[in-house]
Subunit: 160 residues, 2 copies
């Protein structure tokens, strides 16, 4: 047991980050081991387009919860991989409409069994006394009610 693990709650963001990194790196290995040329960071975009076939850049960004510049750089990579394509919206010339290519759709079909493995492995992993997925959802919900910062300010006030 090191000092940081003991400090527990004070270093919670550090530990969340560490766990996210560990899982993402193993994600890369899982795709590779299944002969699929795909990076975990692409998942949110591809999965979103699987269910909502035509979206603008900002719509995708909102769906996946990233900023639009981050989304643009993902889209650039995906376009380079020919997994998506885009065209101008005739009705609103500011917008660029993104959709999957045939190659992208085929890749999704190939990935579906691997996603099932992901699901099974993740379910097994987080099926502990305190369910990680539920814990995240619960904390996110509480943050939506009142931010971490606002909570700290309130608690500080009540101590003075």
């Amino acid at each position: 047991m090191n000092v940081i693990d003991e400090s527990g709650i004070l270093a919670i963001s550090t530990r969340l980050q560490r766990l996210a990194d560990t899982l993402r790196k193993d994600g890369v290995l899982i795709y590779k081991a299944n002969q699929i040329d795909f990076e975990p960071k692409w998942f949110p975009v591809i999965y979103t387009l699987h269910f909502k076939p035509v979206l603008s850049v900002v719509e995708i960004a909102n769906e996946i919860g990233y900023t639009h510049p981050s989304t643009i750089s993902l889209l650039k990579e995906l376009e380079k991989e020919k997994l998506i394509r885009s065209k101008k919206d005739k009705a609103d010339e500011r917008k660029r409409l993104i959709q999957l290519t045939a190659k992208g759709q085929e890749l999704i079909e190939q990935m579906k069994p691997v996603w099932e493995i992901f699901k099974a492995a993740t379910t097994e992993l987080i099926n502990t006394q305190n369910n990680l997925m539920k814990a995240i959802a619960e904390v996110e919900e509480k943050i939506a009610e009142q931010s971490f910062f606002a909570r700290a300010q309130r608690l500080k006030g009540s101590k003075q």
Copy 2:
């Protein structure tokens, strides 16, 4: 509800990352609001040195669970801020021994009340049905037994 939140388990690392970022950013605000010139990323190093006053670079890296290059760049910043200082180990010329300066120790004393606020706010935030801190610890323990990748490989095998 967007597609990514629905995909849940498939995008778990994305969600962990997002939550870590949110908390870290609010961490910056909390220090600022309490007139403390300190970045959350420095916490692991400073907190470790608070309990183990003289450590080498690699010892700190192991304690905080970062790689040594990451640790070195943190140490550079902290040395620039005059919160730590370092000297060569006479017994082992390869080692650089790190310790807090008087300024660093004073800052810790100033931060202690703020750390209490952090603790209180975090405890409040994660005190839900599924405790996030415990969930992380449980998942980390399971990963130590068998990695996420190994679990996926095993589950894949059992399906073929």
